[in-house]
Subunit: 316 residues, 2 copies
């Protein structure tokens, strides 16, 4: 039995993960960003104790605790170097946890990396040794698994797959650069494109679907509008899929994974998204038929991927 | 003592590499592309025998033979899956070599991967554990070293760093896609930009420098023209460096190497190229000061990188 912790901007999810990679117990606590980081980490340690007690376990009965955190993580030092979501800098999270809990095996990874590991261990890429995960949410997160382990790159801070420029001098990205994949393939980018198209075309179904309040457009609306025969909806979806396919083909040319997994809000479209994107990607990859092109699938574990992946940071 | 073989479109270079990573003996044979692949590989085996004999060695006295080959290589099978330079497909190069030479340790890698390994073992990234190499020649080759080993990605055919699109729907690339790094940062791309600028601006020094024969423009001319105060030369160089910096920043965000090494024709510009590109890259990488940004250097081993890297495929 291991504990996996998935830290998010709104809540921290803790799960007790058994040897079959099932979640045997769960606890969710609010993420407090109005207190010093140390206090929030102590909340997490307290929650671990509660979760164990609720399941009749003691710390000595679990193999360890793995944590998935947003931002840049230094695994060797056990610190969160930088998280813009949390506005945290240089938080020695593992040593604070150890201080509160006593001796226990601890490990940490970036949250997208943990989710990718979860999908390889027990989800959409189960059985694969190599996979790339992209989360299509507020931003575009990325995780790469090579040989069933998280690929972290050379020095700390690698695998920022969402911050690969695909359109030089393109749309402004939150990272300060222009044209990143995140600025074209995130759910936020999809909304930006849908709003712009709907505003310019009052006749588009998308306006009706959001009650003529563009602020209420969500990631489902352009897909629904397209399915209902709306031309602008179809154009938004097509443009979005072209950008996403461009990024995925780049990543296949670099990593040649066995599976590409899409998670996050937009991935709720499932085959409706993956089928057309696969077709585009197949025509883009280097070497054509001489190279193996990974099937593109959507996340199977959904919100549990982070917990299961984090737990699997602790090796048997 | 090991043998390293660097296969090129014009010639195959063989080197006897000692434990200090010095080349103790060398032999160059022409690449014959007008004969079946098997015959060419047998030429290489014969050349190994000659190289050893010339240096008073027998096969049993060397630790093994490493080969760097253009194209897509299947290391496990020991085959060249596909090389567009050679127009070879599915050539079982290691088994042909073994057939001709008898029992000997053999290994194979892509040529850019081998060059990257060479620079890490004994060149511009000596002492580093992680490095990314880009060769700026006819195309853009790429090699990634993680933990002093070639990073090959998941399944065969990865690490095609030159075929990462940086300008969606941009210039046509030899791989069939549009907007690849290769189409903007290769020596060929530099020449394309220089020719176009020189043709449109007859007053540009670049025209004089090539004797008004645009076919004779080489990769040095735009840099020389810029240094002499020519505005169009400076613009071509600036544009080229912007594209190159964009690609390098993408690769730093993905791999976070300790060093980025530039090889190939354009890298002859040394600091003249790396200094301005470094400045651009420093402002582009994710996380700014929170992330480590690799120094950009030029190849130190030059044409020997491939031989030394190939020899180092054979582990001690």
């Amino acid at each position: 039995m291991k504990v996996g912790i998935d830290m998010g901007g709104m809540s921290v999810k803790l799960g007790l993960v058994n040897e079959k990679n099932e979640i045997a117990g769960k606890l969710v606590i609010p993420t407090r960003l109005d207190v010093p980081a140390r206090e929030m980490v102590l909340d997490m340690a307290e929650a671990v104790k509660t979760l164990l007690a609720e399941n009749g376990l003691t710390l000595s009965q679990i193999q360890g605790i793995g944590i998935g955190s947003p931002g840049t993580v230094d695994q060797e030092e056990g610190t969160i170097l930088y998280s813009n979501n949390f506005d945290w800098e240089d938080v020695p999270i593992l040593s604070i946890m150890r201080e509160a809990l006593g001796p226990v095996k601890l490990d940490i990874a970036n949250d997208a990396d943990a989710a990718a590991l979860g999908e390889v261990c027990a989800g959409a890429a189960e059985g694969a040794k190599n996979a790339v995960l992209l989360t299509l949410g507020t931003g575009v997160g990325g995780g790469v698994i090579i040989n069933r382990k998280i690929f972290r790159g050379g020095v700390t801070g690698g695998c920022e797959l969402g911050h690969m420029v695909i359109v030089e001098n393109g749309e402004r990205c939150t990272c300060g650069r222009r044209g990143c994949l995140e600025a074209y393939a995130s759910a936020s980018a999809l909304l930006r494109m849908a709003r712009k198209a709907a505003a310019a075309h009052p006749e588009s179904l998308m306006n009706q679907m959001c009650g003529n309040d563009l602020e209420k457009i969500n990631g489902k609306i352009p897909f629904d509008a397209a399915a209902a025969g709306d031309q602008m909806g179809a154009e938004v979806v097509e443009t979005y899929e072209n950008h996403l396919a461009c990024g995925i083909a780049n990543l296949i040319n670099i990593f040649r994974p066995e599976k590409v997994i899409l998670g996050g809000g937009v991935a709720a479209q499932k085959e409706n998204l993956t089928a057309p994107v696969q077709k585009k990607v197949d025509s883009m990859c280097f070497g054509g038929r001489h190279g193996k092109i990974a099937p593109i699938v959507t996340s199977r574990l959904g919100n549990d991927a982070g917990i299961i992946g984090a737990a699997n940071l602790i090796e048997d």
